[in-house]
Symmetry: C2
Subunit: 108 residues, 2 copies
């Protein structure tokens, strides 16, 4: 990513789930979608994305299925209801965390 590796941590699952909230997508397309939405300010490598997708699937936050299209097989990911709840809680955690940081930064 453009940002320090450490800042990015903790936001990757959030980003992936947020993109999948809109529509089912396959891995490669998720990377492109994150770049598109962030106007190329964020870009998640595939070496980062695929392990995340597998982890999310293992926890039943997403489901995968293969789909043939344009004579090409792609592995699509679909966010589950559990995943939607998780996404919501990740967003809330992010908001609360940012507020806490702001308290320290803008104290007094």
């Amino acid at each position: 990513m453009r940002y320090s590796k450490e800042l990015v941590k903790g936001s990757t699952h959030l980003l992936v789930l947020a993109v999948l909230e809109t529509e089912d997508l396959y891995g490669y397309k998720i990377c492109r979608e994150i770049e598109l939405r962030s106007q190329n300010e964020l870009s998640m490598g595939e070496g980062t994305l695929y392990p995340i997708l597998h982890a999310l699937e293992k926890e039943d936050y997403v489901e995968s299925y293969w789909r043939e299209c344009d004579g090409r097989s792609r592995k699509y990911y679909h966010i589950t209801r559990k995943g939607l709840r998780h996404l919501k809680s990740l967003k809330e955690e992010r908001n609360a965390f940012n507020k806490s940081i702001d308290k320290v930064l803008n104290f007094g």
Copy 2:
């Protein structure tokens, strides 16, 4: 901290420098100050803080000096001009990063 370890990453140096911007403090007090300012929503362990202070000093973002007070020796840290510049850039990076995340979350 109350928050997931990963969210916290990338914000620790920012927090420490932000606290030192106001006044010189020693390690133990920095921990307490972060708790105070965040109303106990953030709490940095000493095992986290001290390595950070040493790293910040190594990069000339802070300077340390020993001071005797109340019959007790404490190692105070002072933010340098270089440290102030670094703090400013960390704040800017944080703002930009949050905006980028928001773009992905609130797309379309």
